[in-house]
Amino acid sequence: MAKKESTFISMVLTLFMVTFIASAALGYLYEVTKGPIAESKLAKQNNAIMQVIPEFDNEPGKEVYKMDVDGGTLEFFPAKKNGELVGTAVSTFTNNGFSGNIKIMVGFLPDGTIHNISVLEHKETPGLGDKMKKNKSDWSVQFNGKNPTNFKLKVTKDGGDVDAITASTISSRAFCDAVDRAYKAYMEGGKK
């Protein structure tokens, strides 16, 4: 097989053909995968909500509403069963983490009791602050079933009821800060 010569026409033509076929193929694949990608994203969100809220049968992601607090945005995902509110998952944040922002999802029952909490994003130190994640330790379980009206969302060192993670008071404080922010917003009009 002889190599094609590098004339201007052949070069332009080749590059054009290659790019054309490539984009056509990608365009097709994009159309095919568009649905599954959207689904998996939704599933991820639903999954995060499912972890912190008892059983529900609606699609909280579709009924999401937002509230701007302390220079950030909180997202509220109302979970309903048979049309009745069973809980709200609040995606909340704190800027006081040991190394930057922390995003967590807190599930509140309608009366403000914390049902469960999961960590969405964090950059805390492995082995210390990252113990706030469920797959690292059971630390965050202590919030479950507590109502902030009689459970002070502060570490014991600051006069609250939360036992800090060993050697990670700052991360623990930040975590409480995020939960507290979600709770206050939820009680002050975040409940729908």
Partner: protein, 195 residues
């Protein structure tokens, strides 16, 4: 060269990571666990085999001067395919590997094999070469990921065998460099002995 030799060279004698020192960014970046290493290795293998295949087919139709840009487009297409497919069907792994998936496109192994092998050899040899190099790469990543997971998290393929944490430095950047450094020494020793 027999096809068996063609296939097996990627594992030890010409292992991309341990011997040729190619594709180091993803090697270090994603190997916090064995499964991540394996996933990345297989994704790269797919791109390697497919781009080798296509390039060896069309090689005679591509003028020399636009060879490299054409190769890059072909490779980038397959990378994007991997990206889309992973995002759709294995989103968890996709999130873990993150930026390193699009970066397969600049992985020197892929362009290197296209240029050095597929553009000169037959279709069959090119596919075999792609498989050999790719799986060798996957093996290297899985080993490094395994070592880092064992030392850093006290688990292997997600199965935990000690309580609590391991030596956390191994899941972080410094541990990646150090573990790879000593692994290279080890592989070189083995290679020398079997040579």
């Amino acid at each position: 060269m027999s096809q068996w030799k063609n296939f097996s060279k990627g594992f030890f004698k010409e292992n991309a990571v341990f011997v040729l020192f190619l594709g180091l960014c993803p090697t270090l970046g994603v190997t916090t666990s064995a499964i991540n290493g394996l996933g990345m290795g297989l994704a790269t293998t797919f791109v390697l085999v497919m781009s080798n295949l296509v390039i060896s087919i069309v090689k005679s139709q591509i003028p020399d001067k636009v060879r490299i840009p054409s190769f890059i487009v072909i490779i980038a297409s397959f990378v994007t395919m991997v990206e889309l497919v992973m995002q759709a069907y294995v989103p968890a792994l996709f999130d873990q590997l993150g930026l390193f998936i699009p970066l397969i496109v600049v992985n020197c192994i892929v362009l290197g094999r296209a240029e050095a092998f597929a553009s000169k050899n037959t279709v069959i040899s090119s596919i075999i070469d792609g498989f050999g190099m790719g799986l060798g790469f996957a093996m290297a990543l899985t080993i490094l990921g395994g070592v880092r997971e064992i030392l850093g998290s006290g688990s292997i393929f997600g199965f935990k065998f000690i309580q609590g944490d391991g030596m956390l430095v191994f899941v972080l950047a410094p541990g990646a460099f150090i573990a790879l450094g000593y692994l290279i020494v080890l592989v070189n020793k083995i290679n020398k002995k079997t040579a």
